[in-house]
């Protein structure tokens, strides 16, 4: 056997071994992903894509917001589908349990800062360009921490807008001839996973994110935050001024439930 034939054989062997080693990775659907630069953003909207400044909630209240600010971040975009999507009967749930950490697949993108977002601006708030991995994003997670509990992004100058809370709202709610001005802040309790909104559904193709115009955007459905709020449960103010979204009222509990709900968020690739 000549040198050429041996070289061919060695090449065949090498290819066979390489195939043997890498084939399971291909067949298991892992992201082969190359590094990308991922532009990210956050935007306030409604579940139907309308203006979050004015909507009717599930309990029949016409809500007109004058302020809606949130401190959001970090944010993670995952390869894996939502793990708790079983209610839709589409995707199985790897049932979480005490102390169980479920796999959400590769982190394709992330925002490792807190950003102050004006949810009524009608525009996507830029939360920066971050290193990521090419792939198909199928779920996301956002963290709603108190302001300053994580590194603040370029919007740190706006931190006073949330008045020390994670979220600050003000506006007017009206129903059956009753008009209730309101305002207040919400900070989720530091218990369990209450400050993590996991399993946010939404599919984005991040294969060519570096070259494609646009950004991976987290949508906040402000109408779902307030969807079950009965504003007449807010305590009357002692004097003049709006009613305060105070802890202990149905309005506050319903607001907190809405903020905690993964159904109050979505993701979209937005140009």
């Amino acid at each position: 056997m000549g040198t050429t034939r041996r070289a061919v054989l060695r090449t065949v062997v090498a290819l066979a071994m390489a195939g043997a080693i890498t084939m399971p990775l291909w067949s298991c659907g892992h992201t082969l992903g190359e590094s990308i630069q991922l532009r990210t953003g956050v935007m306030g909207t409604t579940a139907t894509g309308g203006s979050p400044a004015s909507f009717v909630n599930r309990r029949g209240w016409q809500v007109d917001l004058t302020e809606a600010y949130v401190v959001i971040g970090p944010i993670y975009f995952y390869e894996a589908a939502p793990q708790a999507h079983w209610l839709d009967g589409v995707v199985g749930l790897r049932q979480a349990h005490a102390h169980l950490v479920v796999s959400r697949g590769t982190v394709l993108g992330e925002v490792l800062q807190q950003h102050v977002i004006d949810l009524l601006s009608g525009a996507v708030h830029d939360t920066g360009t971050w290193s990521g991995v090419a792939g198909q994003c199928q779920s996301a997670e956002v963290q709603l921490l108190p302001p300053g509990e994580h590194e603040l992004g370029p919007t740190s100058h706006a931190i006073e807008l949330v008045r020390g809370h994670t979220i600050w709202l003000s506006g007017v709610a009206a129903k059956d001839g009753v008009t209730i001005p309101f305002e207040g802040g919400l900070t989720l309790p530091d218990e369990g996973k209450l400050r993590l909104i996991e399993d946010i559904a939404g599919t984005m193709d991040l294969q060519d994110a570096s070259e494609s115009p646009g950004a991976a955007v987290v949508l906040i459905y402000v109408d779902e935050w307030l969807g079950n709020v009965n504003f007449d449960t807010l305590p009357e103010p002692a004097g003049e001024g709006p009613r305060v979204l105070a802890e202990g009222s149905q309005a506050y509990t319903a607001w907190q439930s809405g903020v905690r709900s993964r159904f109050s968020y979505g993701t979209i690739w937005k140009e």
Partner: protein, 313 residues
């Protein structure tokens, strides 16, 4: 002499690599692995035997709002168990056809045998099973005949009965839940591996575990902060002191109330909050929907093993 050795070595390496490629890519097991058996049971653990509070290891499981609770019936319907071979494209190796309704509390809450599957290849297999509503063809085991009729007529998947006590007050509950779920790709709670390893010439035992604690936790998905609570149940019992599914549906999770209609407060005087965030849609925030989710999430494999659950309806 070196050339033939080199050629022979290359040839052998090629054969080995080819075999390796075949093995890794197809996951084929060797043919003669022997056979064994699998005994499959179902139980609800110590909570069915002792109620609440009870102690497991060093952990006391007690209601934070002061209730003690005993279960008297815990009927669930299991259907079609499939054993599949992940090394052979998830081909079905053996199955057990249900459905059977079985009272996990009967006989003191000990493990109930569902099936013994024999002549299984001695290799690691995946397990899949269904939990479904009762129907006319459902076999009843350890189930009172009147309850069996109720299960079938009402299309129930679970019928759970018991009573809770606090400060001399007794509140009973009789809860029928429907819904169909499939559990697959189960992690073995015994050793955290996937599926179960069949051993040659042996009978391996596994069990489906319905974990009752979920029904009274105040979080949909536990993360170490879950608390057992019954006040929200007791509040809707009505004059007959009996909680039903219909009454649980009246308890609004955004406006939890006590029996007097006042805000439901916890042991510190703060409003009780049930964290439904990962589970319930905004238009179904009531205690029945929460408990229905909890019952589905309570199904584990061989202890605290978790399965991929898919809602079938």
């Amino acid at each position: 002499m070196n050339k033939p050795t080199t050629i022979r070595g290359t040839h052998l390496t090629l054969v080995a690599a080819t075999a390796m490629a075949a093995g890794l890519s197809s996951g084929c097991a060797s043919d003669d692995v022997g056979t064994g058996s699998l005994e499959i049971g179902v139980n609800g653990g110590i909570a069915l035997q002792e109620g609440f509070p009870h102690t497991e290891g060093a952990v006391e499981h007690a209601f934070v709002d002061g209730w003690s609770l005993q279960l008297t019936k815990y009927i669930m319907v299991l259907d079609r168990i499939r054993l599949t071979d992940p090394a052979d494209g998830d081909a079905e190796v053996a199955s057990w056809d249900g459905p059977v309704m079985i009272d996990l509390h009967a006989g003191g809450g000990d493990n109930k045998q569902l099936a013994v599957l024999g002549d299984l290849p001695a290799t690691r297999l995946d397990m899949q099973f269904d939990v479904i509503p009762a129907s006319a063809g459902t076999e009843a085991r350890d189930v009172d005949s009147a309850d069996a009729v109720t299960m079938i007529d009402d299309g129930l998947t679970y019928l759970i009965e018991g009573q809770a006590e606090k400060d001399g007050q007794t509140i009973a509950f009789r809860l029928g839940l429907d819904g169909s779920s499939r559990y697959s790709q189960c992690t073995n709670g015994k050793d955290n591996t996937q599926g179960v390893a069949i051993e040659a010439e042996k009978t391996v035992g596994v069990f489906v575990w319905h974990h009752p604690h979920h029904l009274w936790w105040d979080v949909a998905i536990a993360a170490g902060n879950e608390q057992l609570r019954f006040d929200a149940w007791a509040a809707v019992a009505g004059a007959d002191d009996l909680v039903t599914a219909e009454e649980l549906e009246t308890q609004d999770l955004t406006d939890l109330q006590d029996a007097a209609g006042d805000p439901l407060l916890d042991e510190d005087g703060d409003p009780v909050f049930y964290d439904s965030g990962p589970a319930l849609k905004p238009d179904e925030l009531n205690l029945l929907a929460f408990v229905r989710y909890a019952a589905r999430a309570a199904v584990h494999f061989n202890g605290l093993g978790f399965c991929t659950m898919t809602v079938q309806q």
